[in-house]
């Protein structure tokens, strides 16, 4: 069985151990990934050799930074297979990207009679901006529910589209809790058949699966750099040229204008129109390194490797008595495994696993509506990336089994309080 273990050497942080010399098993990748040396080097190289503000600077450093910044855009356009480079807008993150669409496209296109369709599995980033839009224009928001087996069937999508005739169908390509991926192309086709615009939250798919926005035929796609081995502080908004051109700018400031007078402003062309202020220059350059890095490994390889690890962990964890797996038994799965234990709250689980060197996340993972639907307020989530190993999956299984035992009731008696 091929592994990607050799990649670990590229990641300085993965060489570290936590307390008492236990090697770190970093299984919190759905929250944010780690960076290979090449990405870190891209950052230092820029700051140490050629950094200057971009746009219209005609000295050597600014020309070099501008060229590298726009080259990054070209690489990202290739990474998602966009038709035009200027369909790639750099934002502060996936959240900022969704807000841009909800405000700019939303205010222009959505009225009180319209409906926005979401799934109950959405991250807050793909819920709250639409709720803010609803508060402002009075539209309705509908949620596709989860089935008992944790899936959302395409039939349910079709009938919801029929019933609600939404103006926008915004959904995640891969759930950050359930470990499932959704059939993006099919859902988008259906949505278009029903006249809906489509936004795809690719925050959890971009790091793990080949992306092809043209094959998807998506109207808008968003993701974050920090989840794909890239730096903090940058995300991508892809939008079809026609849609982006028709939208008013979102944030105002330098760079996004063609002209400003005391009477008003004319916006610049794409992509500048949506990039107000000094952009995340170094972050963009480092993001290019990141997508080059994962592309060189191969996203197909990455996906397969993660599926192997997650399936192994899933199978092992299901053997533990009192563990409820939050995700379908069989599924188009990604590298995420979430569960609850009957004897231990997820915070205690995460805390105890940390003591074994295993980093997982506990809580609602920014999906409170999903957790409410699942009847729990918190889950424990392990999320694998390509640099994780079978050994780490085994450590996870063993450590969870131990935690479940540790917090099981044993007939303890509290000591009467000593006075004072």
């Amino acid at each position: 069985m091929p592994t990607l273990t050799h990649c670990r050497d590229d990641f300085p942080i993965l060489q570290r151990s936590v307390a008492d010399g236990i090697p770190l098993a970093f299984l919190d990748n759905a929250a944010s990934t780690q960076r290979p040396q090449s990405v870190i080097n891209a950052i230092t190289d820029c700051y140490e050799r050629y950094y200057a503000n971009v746009h219209r600077g005609i000295h050597t450093l600014s020309e070099e930074s501008t060229t590298r910044y726009e080259k990054s855009r070209t690489s990202l356009a290739r990474f998602v297979n966009a038709e035009h480079d200027h369909e790639i807008i750099y934002t502060a993150g996936a959240t900022a990207a969704i807000n841009t669409v909800a405000r700019s496209w939303g205010n222009e296109n959505v009225t009180a009679n319209d409906t926005i369709l979401l799934t109950i599995a959405e991250h807050h980033a793909n819920i709250v901006p639409w709720q803010q839009l609803a508060a402002s224009v009075g539209c309705r928001i509908e949620f596709l529910p989860l089935q008992d087996d944790f899936n959302i069937e395409t039939d349910a999508v079709r009938s919801a589209l029929e019933r609600f005739q939404p103006k926008m169908f915004a959904f995640t390509a891969a759930s950050n809790v359930l470990g499932t991926t959704f059939p993006v192309t099919e859902w988008t086709r259906l949505a278009h058949e029903h006249g809906s615009t489509v936004l795809i939250d690719a925050a959890q798919s971009a790091p793990h699966q080949v992306m092809d926005v043209q094959a998807w035929n998506a109207d808008f796609v968003v993701f974050s750099g920090h989840k794909v081995c890239g730096p903090n502080g940058i995300g991508v908004l892809y939008g079809k040229e026609k849609l982006l051109e028709a939208m008013p700018p979102f944030l105002g400031g330098g760079g996004m204008i063609r002209r400003v007078t005391t009477d008003g402003f004319e916006p610049a062309e794409l992509p500048d129109k949506f990039e107000a202020g000094t952009p995340p220059i170094v972050e963009a350059i480092a993001l290019e390194s990141a997508v080059e890095y994962v592309t060189a490994i191969g996203l197909d390889e990455i996906e397969k490797h993660e599926q192997r690890l997650a399936t192994h962990a899933d199978t092992g964890l299901r053997q533990i008595e009192g563990l409820r797996m939050i995700g379908p038994e069989t599924r188009d799965r990604n590298g995420i495994v979430s569960f609850v234990l009957n004897h231990a709250h997820s915070h205690d689980v995460a805390h105890a696993l940390d003591a074994s060197g295993i980093a997982v996340r506990a809580g609602h993972h920014c999906t409170m509506p999903l957790h409410r639907a699942l009847g729990t307020s918190a889950t424990t989530r392990a999320s694998f990336y390509f640099y994780n190993t079978m050994d780490e999956a085994d450590r996870l299984i063993a450590a969870v089994a131990e935690v479940q035992k540790k917090f099981a009731p044993t007939g303890r008696k509290r000591q009467p309080r000593s006075s004072g």
Binding site: H345, H347, A352
Partner: protein
């Protein structure tokens, strides 16, 4: 292993499995309830105060992690017999000290939930006319996203 042994000390687990005064209190004069939506921890506290403001009886109920539940148990155990003034002087730092094991900021929030509920409960008479103390006003470490 340091951190695990640090916080799940025997007396913490004892309070978790065998809590002090867990359940409703009949005849409570004051009560309050709050949650930490970000973790799902929930704490309800019932108090019976004498007319001159002494805690005769204190009970809690709730759901959540070991820290939130064990600390609540320790809190209701420790406040019985105390006066209102003493409760108001009981700071967040005192609460963390009562709990014992040193907590990181994220886990402090779990531990301070019951303390916050208590500080509100003493201002929340079940018969509103009993409240001669004004609105809650307590200080302590920032509680982040919690209300």
């Amino acid at each position: 292993m340091a951190s695990e042994q640090d916080i799940y000390e025997e007396h913490v687990l004892d309070h978790y499995e065998d809590p002090y005064h867990r359940g409703p209190l009949n005849g409570a004069t004051h009560a309050h309830e709050a949650d930490n939506p970000l973790c799902g921890d929930q704490i309800h506290i019932d108090l019976k105060l004498t007319p001159d403001g002494k805690v005769v009886d204190a009970w809690f109920d709730g759901e959540g992690c070991v820290i939130s539940q064990a600390s609540a148990s320790m809190l209701v155990e420790t406040i019985e017999g105390k006066t209102l003034e003493e409760l108001q002087q009981f700071s967040a730092q005192n609460m963390l000290a009562l709990f014992g094991p040193k907590l990181t900021p994220n886990r402090q929030k779990c531990c301070l939930l019951s303390w916050r509920v208590l500080q509100s409960a003493i201002h929340s008479p079940l018969n509103p006319s009993d409240d001669e103390l004004g609105g809650p006003s307590f200080s302590g470490p920032s509680l982040g996203e919690e209300s």
